[in-house]
């Protein structure tokens, strides 16, 4: 009975995926191969790329860039956000500027980074880092704002020391927000990764898709987009899991 239940639960999902694939296949077969490639051919092209080793190589290249930039963003953004959360004057002073940077499309900085730092690995990491770090800082600060001053006052009047204050008030209130920031940062870092691979030195999945489009290899373009989309969806899931895990603290 349980099996039947899960089948019924998942049936609409698989049905809609199957319909989408069928639509893609039909559309692909009825248009010029330069515009669109059917699903089946996309899979064949993907398999060729995997078999040649090209795909795995570029995937690892991208993963290296993504992980370096993202980890740096969390390792620097989280403590910095926490510092701002604790030191109220600093937070009030820096908040508007943080907001401005957060609302600015940071892709616009890529040409500056290119002409100052050239084509190495470091400028690309910087792009991923910049895309990701402000989500972490911004949301951590947002969490700090959610702490009512009375809570800190109560903690102080019970003579809580700094360590107890962090454990009982600061961390439980800021971490859930910070994790929302981490989840957003995952998505933004992925955009940063592709942007860096497009516009700085061409490597990784970005290069795969660029060279496919320059060679009018539409199958290659579709195969790369499919893979990047799946990676995006997978990472989004991971982000949501992380966020939910910490959200239990948020009242």
């Amino acid at each position: 009975m349980k099996r039947f239940g899960t089948l019924r639960h998942h049936a609409p999902f698989w049905l809609s995926i199957a319909a989408g694939i069928a639509l893609w296949e039909i559309a692909g077969r009825n248009t010029s191969a330069a515009f669109m490639v059917p699903f089946s051919e996309t899979l064949v092209r993907l398999w060729q790329l995997v078999a040649s080793g090209e795909f795995i190589h570029q995937l690892l290249e991208s993963a290296k860039l993504f992980i370096t930039g993202f980890v740096l963003a969390v390792v620097i953004g989280l403590p910095f956000g926490m510092l701002l959360a604790r030191v109220r004057t600093l937070r009030i002073g820096i908040e508007p500027y943080l907001m401005i940077v957060y609302a600015t499309p940071l892709v616009a900085l890529i040409p500056f980074i290119l002409s100052m730092m050239g084509f190495g690995f470091a400028p690309k990491v910087l792009v991923v880092f910049l895309f990701a770090v402000f989500s972490v800082i911004y949301n951590t600060v947002e969490g700090a704002r959610s702490i009512k001053p009375e809570m800190l006052e109560v903690a102080h009047s019970f003579r809580s020391n700094e360590w107890v204050l962090w454990r009982e008030v600061m961390l439980p209130h800021t971490l859930p927000y910070a994790m929302t920031g981490v989840r957003q940062a995952i998505g933004r870092a992925l955009v940063g990764m592709i942007a860096a691979e497009f516009f700085l030195s061409s490597t990784g999945l970005g290069q795969l898709i660029m060279s496919a489009s320059q060679n009018f290899d539409t199958g290659g373009v579709f195969a790369s987009i499919l893979v990047i989309a799946l990676i995006g969806i997978g990472l989004m899931r991971v982000g949501l899991l992380i966020e939910r895990h910490f959200a239990r603290w948020r009242q």
Binding site: P12, F13, L15, S16, I17, A19, F35, L90, I92, G93, I94, E95, P96, Y97, M99, I100, V101, A103, T104, P105, V107, A108, L109, I110, P111, F112, S115, M116, Y138, N139, R145, I147, P149, T180, R183, Q184, G187, L190, V191, M193, I194, A195, F198, F199, G206, I209, M210, S213, F216, T218, V221, F222, S224, I225, I228, A229, G232, I233, M236, L240
Partner: protein, 272 residues
Amino acid sequence: MSEQVIDASVIAIGSRPSARSAGTFMPRLITGLALLLLWELVVRALAPPYVAKPTSVVMAVPRVITDPTFLSATGATLLAVAEGLAIALVAGIVIGLSMGRSPAVERSLRHYVNGFYAMPMIVILPLFSLWFGYSGATRIATIIFAAIFSIIINVADGANSVPREYLEVARSFRASRLRGLIDIVLPSSMPYLLAGIRLAAGRALIGAVVAEFFLSIGGVGYYILYNSRIYRHDQAFVGVLLLAAFGVSFELLVNWCTRRFMPWYRRDEQTG
């Protein structure tokens, strides 16, 4: 998926009256000056002379904003963003409302909308450039693609969260389905829609700039790219300031609209 979009919308600026009080002004001014000074000193000490620093950017402002090339670039980008956003808005509202009100539509589209929303939007550029050529059409298509999914998701969530009693009352007064949609579902999902628009505007701006980099077509993004290539970083940075101003003012506008027209919609009470 619903809470994630709203979470992002929780980030609102200046929504607390206390933020406007005098107590915050001095720390902000001092921090701002300190940041500018730091930037100026670091660039002067370490970077080559062409790198943008506050004093030279300020000097470049009058020159740039009277430059016809810059003005037409600004016009081209903003027009494309407005056009793309408008299309994304109309299509997004229609799709979002039908998803929110019809379980069948919701079930068949939800995974695709979420999937497209999760994928880094700029990977679509090479494909769009194959389809629409190296032209403004590709830029518009990219902007629409970047913007539409956050609108759909938010409108669908909004339409989904309409209290059931409201619709029941409408039905007992024999209101038609369409009237119910226009008079009840649409207004009560407005806060969600505005949150979606704010996200969409930010993404649209990124889409426009990236498209201009990629396609080398006239616009602020291309202006920045071109000028920084020929080492005129000061001029190029004025373009960045313009984009920042646009991003910030849109954000403020949406927040103002939420407070002005939807005072009944309150995010969690925040304290300063």
